[in-house]
Symmetry: C2
DNA sequence: GCCGAAGTGGGTCAGTTGACCCAGTTGCGT
DNA sequence: ACGCAACTGGGTCAACTGACCCACTTCGGC
């Protein structure tokens, strides 16, 4: 085993631990298993970390703030908000499909920190982080499509995270790609319905969400959006 | 320790195991921990179950088909579909809040079966069951409020499960009641938007007509008595 | 070149775990 | 009331685990 600075060794062990956890759960990430996955000797473990617990805590913390995106908003202009959201969710889901083990490990770590006395707040922080990333994406999506969210962004971000979590979890359990895709389309539609086009007219500022929702048969705030909005994103476009 | 039939012992051990899992995860549910929670001796464990693995498999199976409701639809008529859904989701969430450990154990078991080679299909079955229950609730909600779902019921049921999972998971992580409630309102609104009122004007039904709700076919109602576990392959090998 | 510290490797140790054995005991069917 | 199978209790055992120790290398600064 080559010599290397402690920092390097630590991060290699963290990576190895993540790997092992994805495959065998947190409980399966024994010091020996981790060390073997990293190609080291056991003593090196305790040279780099005071204890297994320390490794796990560090791993959760690292995972929390290395989280980069929830969903990517990379759509050409001219698309509807719903389309942008749908594409974003699809690209998120493509990541999940490409590396399901990663997601499994994430859930595993979340549950571990929920269950572990000293780490409860890390789980909460993890979700805060998700939501803040989600909020950024939603803001950008709205801006690009000239839409205005009708509810506080943090709330919508939380809802988006609900979708990604729920869809991912279900897919991890049953592996049904098409079902996931249908849920994605639904999620995009549902979220898009929480915004209105920005065309200056409706400045109602009524974000009181209690019952102010219109019946699903739309045809009602489309009267004057001359550009990109397809005139009815109503019930039937989803399976045209 | 009182004498009791094997079936009884098994079910007590299963209950104890569920309890331990909720608190310490599947990995924490060692034979000794389970046995202690059940107030038994270790030997009784292996008298009732061939192995810890068998216990866990049985527990997952039991949990899957003892699942009773996803959301209760108990609203007076005259309410809107959205309101009915919202109340149903609230009552579901009240259950979660009342017994978070239970939910934690459920997620724990799901993840365990996802990760365990021979039990993958049990996880899928679990979700099927959730969805079938969700479908029943949605059908009833629509029927009571005179609404017609515009997408296939199984798809909507899957979406509902996405919501409950996502909301529950987030709440388990951060314990934010109000956020959960906002997500519930959003979920109710989003789902309600997938239906149209059935009132009279339902004549056209020209496009995609096949998506109407089907009355809940009562095909699979079992009458499993609480402890009618099959007594045949219980523990006789080590004595035969 | 050489010295001390950073890093390594092999081993130990006590505690835990799943499995399982076997000598008893107890209650049920008859 | 009584025989015997169902059931229990108190062990044992090998494997595994986290922690940690300490004699060695090896490298970098001098």
């Amino acid at each position: 085993m080559a010599r290397m600075p402690v920092a390097e060794r630590r991060s290699r062990l963290l990576a190895a631990a993540f790997d092992v956890i994805a495959r065998h759960g947190v409980a399966g990430a024994t010091t020996r298993a981790v060390v073997e996955a990293a190609g080291m000797k056991l003593a090196s473990f305790h040279y780099a970390f005071a204890s297994r617990e320390e490794l796990l805590a560090e791993l959760v913390a690292e995972v929390v703030d290395s989280q980069q995106v929830v969903l990517e908003v990379t759509s050409g202009s001219g698309s509807s908000l719903e389309t942008v959201l749908e594409l974003g969710l699809r690209s998120y889901f493509a990541q999940v499909r490409a590396d399901p083990l990663r997601e499994r490990a994430m859930f595993e770590l979340t549950q571990y920190s929920i269950r572990t006395p000293g780490m409860r707040e890390l789980a909460a922080k993890q979700y805060e982080r998700y939501r803040s990333l989600a909020a950024e994406s939603l803001a950008e999506a709205a801006q690009r499509t000239g839409a205005v969210w009708q509810r506080p962004l943090p709330d919508l971000a939380a809802d988006l995270v609900v979708f990604t979590d729920g869809i991912t979890l279900a897919w991890l359990a049953d592996g049904d790609d098409e079902r996931a895709d249908r849920s994605i389309r639904f999620a995009a539609r549902a979220l898009a319905a929480e915004a209105v086009p920005n065309t200056d007219t409706d400045t109602d500022t009524d974000t009181d969400t209690d019952t102010g929702i219109r019946p699903p048969t739309a045809e009602h705030h489309e009267s004057r959006s001359p550009e990109s909005r397809s005139p009815e994103r109503t019930r039937d476009d989803h399976r045209a």
